[in-house]
Symmetry: C2
Subunit: 249 residues, 2 copies
């Protein structure tokens, strides 16, 4: 199986086949995990570097009143806690939204690989920046777009991110989120999600049946969402020396 985390990284920087193969090696023992499995509980120590190789997961927080807000979608190739410190404490939990294959890479292996292939380290920084950009765009999305625009924007973003890892065929892809999940991503209620989905369908923008999503009119969706993929695109210029930190062995 091709390593999707690397493919994400590869989107950011040119990695050679050698580097890809080495990294592949790290992912020997991926394990399968079912849907709705809770993979980290609040307060757990982050002792390694888990990556989703296939399937979808989500990071979320729960409020006192039981409300849930999903703060990131983890698509195939995404790291659980890229933004967190190893040895740190998880303040956000992760749940799988579909059956997943997950690798847990020991930090020591990570280190070694980055040492041998600095480009991988650089690609990881790039990947981290993309994650940040997505976080910002979610704030804008939830803060300033109405329900329909929000949905449309999320679909455009997801479509784009899946394309990077060849997860889209003819504008069609696997979309395992329930309407409850969608509600918790977009800060709305399931009922409202339902109605807005119907609206998107009626306007022939999307088809969504049995977790299979087809973007019928990408332009139209992007138009509604005001979607501009610039924030998801990698920075083309090479990072300066001080960011290319080789890892101490």
């Amino acid at each position: 199986m091709f390593n999707l985390f690397l493919q994400r990284l590869r989107h950011a920087t040119d990695l050679t086949c050698v580097e890809l193969e080495v990294f592949e090696e790290l992912c020997r023992q991926a394990r399968d995990i079912g849907a709705k499995k809770y993979l980290a509980r609040e307060g757990d120590e982050i002792a390694s570097f888990p990556v989703v190789l296939s399937g979808w997961a989500a990071r979320y927080q729960i409020l006192r009143n039981g409300a849930r807000q999903i703060t990131r979608l983890l698509l195939p190739g995404d790291a659980f806690y890229f933004d967190a410190s190893p040895n740190g404490t998880a303040i956000e939990e992760v749940v799988t939204l579909s059956p997943c294959r997950v690798v847990t890479i020991p930090y020591s292996d990570m280190e070694r690989t980055i040492n041998r292939f600095p480009l991988i380290g650089e690609a990881m920084l790039q990947y981290g920046r993309m994650e940040n950009a997505v976080q910002s765009s979610w704030i804008v999305n939830i803060g300033r777009r109405d329900a329909l625009e929000r949905m449309a924007h999320l679909l455009c973003e997801t479509h784009y991110r899946l394309q990077i890892i060849d997860g889209v065929k003819d504008g069609q892809f696997h979309f395992p989120l329930t309407q409850d999940d969608l509600a918790d991503v977009l800060g709305l209620t399931p009922v409202h999600i339902n109605r807005k989905l119907q609206q998107l369908r009626q306007e022939n923008l999307i088809t969504l049946r049995s977790k299979q999503l087809t973007i019928e009119d990408l332009r139209g969706l992007q138009q509604i969402a005001g979607f501009d993929s610039a924030y998801l695109a990698p920075q083309t210029r090479p990072a300066p020396a001080y960011e290319r930190r080789p890892v101490a062995a």
Copy 2:
């Protein structure tokens, strides 16, 4: 003047006086900037490392319809584009919300300092993680809290972040945001902000006059907000080797 960026970093990791002094050196030529100055325009190249030494600024995005969403508040000691690549392109603009003192540190100086004092590099990683945690919490805040809770949470967060840099005296601090600014932080309208502020005042939780904010009842505010400062606290454990990347000279 004491370097507030370093004080932020210092909150994360123990830095010695020597390190502080060296960094101080970098900030010789800070410059004063008035309120409502736009410090980066969309598409500008990020050619150096600007830091707010005093005053407040904000990173934001503008939508087609003219709506603005602020995605981060830059308090004294915060870096403009910590999450972005040097040589990258700014997709978010920055505006000062009060008169500011800003230093623009050349990346070369940055590099040199981090090389000499790896702890500073480590502290910067820690700082970056805190920024990410704040971003996540904003998503939760805007997505799942009602107007009053949102306001309360923002005030708690800001209060906490200012405390770190000794910016609070007796629960009182300078709060330069207009109600329009607040609206663009919290994803609401100015009119609604006004009404909710009055509510907080009536319940004797805060006093806000001529940009001076007093937290009259911190417990009460935290209670309303469901505020837990854990996400803002530094990770106590040392970072593992692979994150302590010394910078190549």
